[in-house]
Subunit: 202 residues, 2 copies
DNA sequence: AGGAATTCGTGAACAGCGTTCAATAGCTTT
DNA sequence: AAAGCTATTGAACGCTGTTCACGAATTCCT
């Protein structure tokens, strides 16, 4: 029975990730403490470092989970729409909705940073990709003149633009848009980007 | 001679802010340590807490300095241009330039967060205002239909959109635009926003 | 000018943090 | 059933920001 061993190991790992996720959702990334996590997961402090390399890596696992949920939300939001404009709007609206409903977890997604010199592991990078991939199909309709790499580049820019508005608003950074206007402003931004894309062709 | 007292006090304060600024520029916000700052400023550890409320507040002072420099950069970039489109492009380009040349200090501007429940003091909020104010004149030309509050709102959105692209690129967040395409992509975004604004009127 | 009063700088001490590690307990294999 | 290996434990470590009693310096008052 080697299964039992790996089973328990994976179980503890999941309990730790779940506890960390719950605590980030409750108190934010800055309020995440190793001792609280292990207490909630029902293990000793040191066990965390056997199940997972680091606290940072634990956060990355939580973030991957959040990204998976966000990806599903975006994919199902993109489906029913017909025109590229509508799809863009639906994606942006879904993004705003997810960020508002999962505020602290969403903030952790972009607030967290590895200590200088450490590289983000590939398995986590892959989970980010969906954010860009969902934008490419509608963007291709709007900009049939762009080739694949230019399209990817523009998709990143488009994502980042919407993301910036949401981020400054959600972290209450004073220069950010007030929360009750966030949806409308994002919609206006996306509209001007899609309209502008069709006119500009740059 | 009350002057001497306040003079020395202000001098130490400035040395502390300068040391913190230099160290953020060198090692980033995460590498900022109270002991290193006081060592560089030439005072004891405890003196920091007499000159300044907190490490957080020291960072805010550094950020205010950065914002003042950024504000000047933007103001002088906006001046010579004639059309609103050009002004917008000049502002965005100046913003990108400043962020790239003052990378760590610029990142600290948006990475730093006060512990939950603490409010950003007014003197620091005021220093943020310039980021929005420079956008309003050209935006008013593009959108003469909007009233003052709607204009402010749209200015925040416009800023946040550009900001988002720069931020994700500069912190190397993988979904971000590669640094060597940043200038072009921001220019393209601004173009589609200005063109889109003139067409959309929303 | 000189003593009193107030303020300031000092650095050891404290509490809290992430992380490590020798010892212990528990499972797996022979 | 015993040996061998791995996982778990929690005390201990080093580093953090912050505090505070003490001594030095400066200002104020007469």
């Amino acid at each position: 029975m080697k299964n039992n061993r790996e089973e328990k190991r994976a179980d503890l790992r999941n309990r730790l990730i779940a506890a960390a996720e719950r605590q980030i959702a409750e108190k934010g990334l800055a309020g995440l403490k190793a001792r609280d996590i292990t207490a909630e997961a029902g293990c000793a402090l040191g066990a965390l470092y056997n199940a997972v390399e680091d606290l940072d890596m634990l956060v990355l696992h939580v973030n991957s989970r959040t990204l998976t949920r966000l990806g599903k939300t975006l994919l199902s939001a993109a489906e029913p729409a017909d025109t590229a404009d509508d799809t863009m709007q639906a994606l942006a609206a879904a993004y705003v909705g997810f960020a508002c409903e999962n505020r602290r977890l969403w903030i952790a997604l972009f607030e967290h940073r590895l200590p200088e010199g450490r590289e983000i592991p590939d398995w986590h990078k892959r989970d980010h990709a969906v954010l860009i991939e969902v934008i490419i199909p509608p963007l291709r309709q709007l900009r049939p003149d762009l080739d694949k790499t230019a399209l990817t580049l523009r998709a990143r820019t488009t994502f980042a633009a919407v993301h910036g508005v949401v981020q400054l608003a959600l972290q209450g950074k004073f220069v950010g848009v007030p929360l009750d206007h966030l949806r409308d402003e994002v919609a206006a931004l996306v509209l001007s980007m899609t309209r502008g894309a069709q006119v500009a062709r740059t």
